[in-house]
């Protein structure tokens, strides 16, 4: 968490590695023919996916919310389904297969691919991510990244609601709960090691008595100010009665 930027809302910053080579179901899956030097089969690259029956082409990535695929604009979503669905074509994989962890996943996490055994969607592979310490289960990379960034599990809801948490006009009880979570999130994201050289506080609105911080000659953005305020509130209340030093 100390590496996170204080202003880091950017989900793309963590997805720096677009390739997911280990993300296959079976270890005996043939390697990518494009990478094998001796291969001369003149099959077009998308040929493997074209042969598949449509219901088997559903991979765990497809099962994730549509917004997930939309967010992966770095081309990650496109190549990933091919090897997975190719593997599910072969001999029936075990119902629960501990899969190789993708390289964006930190240590302390496990991946499990489960095949649905019944129902209309039987044969569909669902990928689960498990956090070993907390035992929490996650359904998608997006959920995992959210947890890594904020330390909290994503609440179910519309994706738009999560992305701009500033405009929260919900029903009474839930709103309270959410803003508390928000304050905690800000405090958690506060970067203690990276203290700026100096901050200039300027009295901007004398009637309300509001002060605006400046670093250098630039006004600190409102979102950052909110983070500071949340951290200040969190720690000034925590200081009551307990030593920090």
């Amino acid at each position: 968490m100390s590496t996170a930027e204080t202003s880091g809302h950017d989900p793309n910053s963590i997805q720096q590695d677009p390739k997911r080579p280990e993300e296959t179901l079976a270890p005996e899956l043939p390697p990518d023919p494009l990478l094998k030097s001796g291969t001369f089969i003149a099959v077009p690259q998308d040929g493997t996916t074209a042969e598949l029956p449509p219901q088997l082409r559903r991979s765990s990535d497809d099962a994730a919310p549509a917004c997930l695929a939309a967010e992966k604009s770095n081309g990650e979503a496109a190549p990933a389904p091919a090897p997975e669905s190719a593997a599910s074509l072969g001999e029936t994989p075990p119902r629960r297969a501990p899969a190789a962890a993708p390289d964006w996943l930190p240590a302390g996490w496990t991946v499990e691919d489960r095949v649905r055994s019944s129902g209309l969607t039987a044969g569909t592979v669902d990928r689960y991510y498990f956090h070993s310490v907390s035992g929490s289960r996650f359904r998608s990379k997006k959920e995992v990244l959210y947890f890594l960034e904020t330390g909290t599990k994503r609440k179910k809801g519309k994706p738009s609601e999560n992305s701009d948490a500033d405009t929260m006009e919900g029903s009474g009880g839930q709103k309270q709960k959410k803003s508390a979570t928000k304050a905690k999130t800000f405090a958690l994201k506060f970067d203690f090691s990276n203290v700026p050289e100096k901050v200039q506080w300027v009295l901007t609105d004398f009637s309300k008595g509001s002060w605006a911080p400046f670093t250098g000659d630039k006004k600190v953005p409102q979102t950052t100010v909110q983070e500071w305020e949340a951290a200040f509130t969190a720690f000034s209340s925590k200081n009551n009665g307990q030593k920090l030093f």
Binding site: S193, V199, Q200, W201, L203, F235, L244
Partner: protein, 145 residues
């Protein structure tokens, strides 16, 4: 933490630098008297700014991470009473004359200048709480499990 020692020392010898009109108004309720307090996690300082008008003072409070504090502002409108447009020629001038001023002093330790809450109280006291700098984060560094 030797906070108490510091308070004693600072009362003996306050290291406060005044410039501008804060230095000149010697007979007036002086600008720039400073209180400094320490708690477990934060410092508090109060600066007397009598006669500094909130709405025109352009007061700035610069806090450095090593604990240095620099306060700047301007005293204006001495000849113009509040809520009046008439201009008065000052015959007696004991309060701080108009002009810029600055006040500099050091807090007893390093601070995190982001974690600060300045308040300009209606009684002319600038009151600021600023968190001490937290050497390597002991908590909050990892997401809670």
């Amino acid at each position: 933490m030797d906070g108490q020692d510091f308070a004693d020392r600072s009362q003996l010898k306050p290291a406060v630098v005044l410039t501008g009109t804060a230095k000149e108004g010697s007979a007036a309720p002086p600008i720039g008297l400073v209180d400094i307090g320490v708690s477990d996690g934060a410092f508090l300082f109060r600066v007397a700014l009598p006669g500094v008008r909130k709405d025109q003072c352009k007061v700035k409070c610069e806090i450095q991470r090593d604990g240095k504090v620099h306060i700047e502002g301007v005293i204006t409108g001495v000849g113009v009473p509040k809520d009046s447009s008439a201009v008065f020629q000052m015959k007696v001038q004991q309060l701080c004359p108009p002009g810029p001023f600055s006040i500099s002093f050091n807090l007893p330790g390093p601070v995190d200048p982001r974690l600060s809450s300045p308040t300009f109280r209606p009684d002319g006291i600038l009151e600021v709480v600023v968190m001490k700098r937290r050497t390597p984060p002991t908590d909050g560094g990892l997401p809670p499990q």
